[in-house]
Structure formats: structure tokens, C-alpha cells
Point group: C2
Amino acid sequence: MNPTAAILLIGDEILSGRTQDTNGNHLAKRLAEIGIDLREIRVVPDEHARIVEAVNTLRGVYANVFTSGGIGPTHDDITADAIAAAFGVGIDVREDARSILATHYTNPGDLNDMRLRMARIPDGATLIDNPVSKAPGFSLGNVHVMAGVPAVFTAMVESLLPGLTGGTPMRSVSVRVEQPESQVAAPLADLAKAFPKVSIGSYPFVQNGVFGTNLVARSTDEALLKQVESRLLTMR
Amino acid sequence: MNPTAAILLIGDEILSGRTQDTNGNHLAKRLAEIGIDLREIRVVPDEHARIVEAVNTLRGVYANVFTSGGIGPTHDDITADAIAAAFGVGIDVREDARSILATHYTNPGDLNDMRLRMARIPDGATLIDNPVSKAPGFSLGNVHVMAGVPAVFTAMVESLLPGLTGGTPMRSVSVRVEQPESQVAAPLADLAKAFPKVSIGSYPFVQNGVFGTNLVARSTDEALLKQVESRLLTMR
């Protein structure tokens, strides 16, 4: 069994529709590649109680929880404090995080109080390197806290993943058929029954007036996947 | 207070990273326009128990729950049955839904067993019109069940929304400043304190090597929003 994971996206801007999230999709792909089984994504607003509740629920259920958003310098960046509260630990400006910021903000006065907020790290957390804009993320227990800005989030993901325990990568094959989904539904159901260890899905599309379906099979077992692929190819 | 809502996205293809969801963002924008307050989004896999649990949790907390995905003709389309189970009601092929499909699939044999799955409607539900591909969605209590294919989802949303109780539309103003987020953090915090009924967020960006920030204020109160906007403009 592969380790499990959930993603928690924190941000009013996603719930208001202003921002189309892409961090969830990016991390979902990277987790599949290293054999971590993403089982849930949640989006909650920038509210202390909501973040605390979601973190505590998810970290009890999944081996890994990845958060995105709310660790910048402004008043609405409340994720670090909420994580500390969820774990019941203290939080303060920490010297290792402060010195990372100090090498970045070198003019006197640049490392102002608001920027120092980004050096507030819960007790017991380890830092996640941020090669883009320096202010670090952190891991506390099984919760990995990263920035919401996509360029920073993706960089932090690459800093973090090598240190995590993965599993067998999830492989997938995709076969495109120019038939409506309901035409392939019956043979696909038979195939799914014959190969219970392979997850088989169908995704209809319309292109230039043609109704077609992408047939997708996913499994950690490459030999089984090959067998299913050859069966899917006969449906074209 | 505006009515609240959650969105439940059902689909392995989102959690595997194969599909970048856009339905959540589309509906989030539409809900803001009609004054329904989106408070949470969840993504769960195509698994009966997970769908039942999420539906029952969310429908107890929010005034409206909107689901996307899993109501097609194939073996992995299990949402309708899961909704019936969540409400503890029966489900079967229903005559009104069957007759909608029959007008679409007019050749003998076209309305096969797999396609008839799309006419399985939980007892007591009302249908949601699907002008794109006919197979209807449905509302049961405060849960509104729609397709995952974006063209169908967006059409169903337009069928559904006029019948829902909205509130005061959420308005927003956005001001772009060419300063890094940490430079505007302090005045922004003061502004947020002075206007507690306006939600004020900041979203950093990097463009052509320039660090900038989008300042966004959101409120249902247009007069307050105007005041905040004029203050935001002075930060440019």
C-alpha cells in the first residue's frame, strides 16, 4: 500500500473565484509519480478556526498533508499560527528563518516587522527551502506548509519531496476512442470487473462535432496495465 | 447574511492530476455574482463511502451543496446511488428522466442498459435540465447533482441557479501596485482593521522582473467598498 495524502488549499481568493487554483493539480501529478496516493483535496477560507479544524481532521486520516497559501507577510497570512494552534505548540520568529530572510533583505530597515512575520515558525518544525523568494515553508509532524504563489509552491514541492517516503509510482495508459461514452460503457464495465486492481475511467469529449471518449486505466502494476491497455485498444 | 454553499468535486481524475478542474472556479464566480457565499470545496475519489460521507457532512453545514462528476453511463459513475444512500431514499430509473433520454436516443436499441443508468434518479429529487446532452442532473433537498464534463456542468448551473435563493452579490475591487507585498503589508493591515466588514487580500506577482502585488477588497456593501478602493489607490 502506498502512503496516502491530502492537499489543503487555504485562500479566500479560490473560494471567491478570483483565482483558478493550479497548485493542487501540480502536486497531484508529482505525488502520482513518486507513489503517494492523493485521497482528498479541500479548500477553506483564510479563517483561523477553519484551518485548525481542517488540519487536525486531515492529519489524523492521511500519512501526509500538504498545505498551500497564507504564509506571506500580510495580515491575512495566518496559516503558520493556525498550524501551531492545531498542534498545540508555540510559535515565534525563529533565528534560522530570520537569518535566511536577513541574507535576502540586506538594506537596513528592509527586514521590517511585516517581513519578519515570514520567520514565524511553529516550535519543532523543520524548514522547507524556498529558492525563489527565500521565505521558507515548514514541516511539522506530517503536515507540510507551503506558499500559495505557484512559482514558490512548485519550488517548495521540489525541496520537500525527496525527503518523503514514496511508494510504487502510479502508472496510467490512455486510449482515445471516437465513440460516445455510452457506447463503450458495457465492455468497459466488463473489463473493470475482470481487472479489479486496475482503476478504469472514461472521460467523454466533443471535438469538431464528434462525440468521443478517453479511456484511462491506472495501476501500480505495470504487467496488469499492459493487459488492460491491449483490451482498451480493441475498443477503438 | 448570504446563504452558504460548498462544492463537492467527485473524481479520481482530479486526484490523479490527469484533469485540472475548472468547474469549481466557474461555479465559485457564478455564486459570488448571485450572493451565495462559497465556504468550502472538497475533492473526493469515485468511492461510494467517501461520497456518502462528504455529502452528509456538507449538507448538514451549508445551505447548498453542489456536486460535479460521476453521473454518466459507465461503471464508475456512482454518484446518483451514493446520493440516494446519503439521504436513505430509494433510486431507480424514473419515467420523466427516461423519456428525456428517449427523445434523444431515437434509434431502436440506442437507449441501452448503460444509457438507462443516466435515468436513475433518487426518490423525491427534481431534475436539472441539461440542454447539451440531455441526461439530466437532479436536486435532492439542498444537494444539487451535476455532470463533470465542463460544457454540461456549466449548462446545468445555468438551469439551476435561477431557482435558488441568493443574497447580496459580493462585489470586489482590485488595485495593482508595483511594490512587493511586504512593502504594502503594514498599511494594508491598518486598512483591514479600519474596515472589518471588508475582506482585504493581497496577491503578489512577479512580472518582467518587477515584484508587484494585486490588492483585492471584497464586500457586499458597495459604499464601504468605494471607501476602501480610494484608500487602496493611494498605495500605488
